[in-house]
C-alpha cells in the first residue's frame, strides 16, 4: 500500500463554437483533469508494482467526478473519453501503465457503466511535455464522429520523480463531423465496439 502524494491538480475545459463552419447550437465541450503525483517507484527498478493500481482507484474516481463537475455536473451528457499518463524521467513507461485500470474503470463507473474500452496513451517526459490524449465514444469505439484527441501538458510537471495522470471527457462529436462511418444514433451497445 502506497500513499498518494498529490502536488497539483489541473482542470482544462474547452468550449468549441465552430471551426470555420456553422456555429454549433450546443458548443462542444472537451475537458481534461490532470493530477501530479509522486512516483513511488522513481529512481530504481521495482519488480512488483501492480498493487499501486488499487491505491490509485480513489484518486481515479475523484478525478472522474471532478471532471464531470467541470463539464456541468451531468454525467449523461458525456459522450467521449480517453486517458493518459506522463511519467517523469526517473520512472519507466510501465509506471504509466498502472493508470489503465484505475483511470479507465473510474470513468466507466462514474458515467454509469460505459461499454467501450477507454483509449489511452502514455510516455516518459520532462516538465512541460505535451501529451495527445485520444478520445473515442464511451459506448462504441467505432463511432467515427467521436474520434478526437485533446492535447494536455503542465509547464512544471512531471518532475523526474512524478507522474502526471490524465482523464479526458467530451460532450459530443467533433464540431463539424462529416466523414461518415458508424453514427452515434446507430450504436447497438452490446460489445463496446458498435
Amino acid at each position: 500500500m502506497f500513499d498518494i502524494f498529490l502536488r497539483k491538480r489541473i482542470i482544462i475545459v474547452e468550449e468549441i463554437f465552430h471551426e470555420g463552419g456553422p456555429i454549433a447550437v450546443t458548443p462542444l465541450r472537451r475537458g481534461a483533469i490532470l493530477a501530479v503525483i509522486q512516483n513511488p517507484f522513481a529512481g530504481h527498478y521495482v519488480e512488483d508494482i501492480a498493487e499501486f493500481m488499487d491505491d490509485l482507484k480513489p484518486l481515479g474516481l475523484a478525478m472522474a467526478s471532478q471532471l464531470v463537475a467541470a463539464l456541468g455536473g451531468d454525467p449523461t451528457i458525456i459522450e467521449g473519453y480517453g486517458k493518459g499518463a506522463i511519467v517523469g524521467a526517473a520512472g519507466e513507461l510501465e509506471h504509466g501503465a498502472l493508470w489503465h485500470a484505475p483511470g479507465g474503470y473510474a470513468m466507466r463507473e462514474i458515467l454509469g457503466g460505459a461499454k467501450a474500452i477507454v483509449p489511452s496513451t502514455k510516455k516518459v517526459g520532462g516538465p512541460g511535455t505535451r501529451l495527445d490524449i485520444p478520445v473515442t465514444h464511451i459506448n462504441a469505439s467505432y463511432v467515427r464522429s467521436h474520434f478526437d484527441a485533446m492535447e494536455v501538458g503542465i509547464p512544471d510537471a512531471p518532475r523526474a520523480d512524478e507522474i502526471v495522470l490524465a482523464l479526458v471527457m467530451t460532450t459530443g462529436p467533433r464540431v463539424h463531423a462529416r466523414v461518415g462511418g458508424l453514427a452515434a444514433s446507430e450504436i447497438k451497445g452490446e460489445d463496446g465496439l458498435r
Partner: protein
Amino acid sequence: MKAQIRKIVTVVDETLTEMGQAVEPPVRRAAVAAVIENPFAGRYVEDLAELMDVGEELGKLLAEKAVAALGIEGPKAESYGKAALVGENGEMEHAAAILHPKLGAPVRKILGKGAALIPSSKKRGGPGAVLDIPLGHKDAAYVRSHFDGMEIQISDAPRANEIVVAVAITTGGRPLPRIGGLKVNDIKGEDGLR
C-alpha cells in the same frame, strides 16, 4: 457580441504541495482564453476602435468565467493578469487595442475592486504558441508574494487570422512566498501600488 469567438479554453490549477510542504489553503489559479477572429488580419487598419470594444466584452466574459471556474465571489480574488497572442496575419497593436483601453474596467467591476494595474503581456505566434500571463496583486502592485505567472497553450490556436485573449485570476500568490517585500496585510490600497 462583436467578438467572433471560435472557442473558449478554461484552465484551473490547484497547488496542494510544493517541495514537500503543504500549501494551506491550496492556491488556485484560473486562466480563461477566448480564440477570436481578428477583424483586421492581413491589412493595415488605422482605427482600432472595434478591437477596443471587443476587449471590453471579453474583459467581462473572461473574468466572469474565471471567477466561476474558481468557485469564488469576485472580491475574494487576490491577483490578476491579462495577455494576448496574435496570429501571424495580425499586428502587435491589435493585441494592445484589445488589452489596454477597455478590458480592465469590467474585470475590476467583477472583482469588486482592483486598484492595481493589471499586468499584461503580448506576442505574435502560431497555433500552440505558449503565452505567459503575468500576475500581480489586484489592489497593490508591490505585493511581492503575488508576483507570479501562468502559462497557457492551445494546440490549435491562434490560426493566422485569430487572436487568443486571456485573463487570469487567482485565489493567492506563490505557494511558499518567503522573500519579504510588501505583504497582503500591509496593503493601504489607495494608489494601486502599496
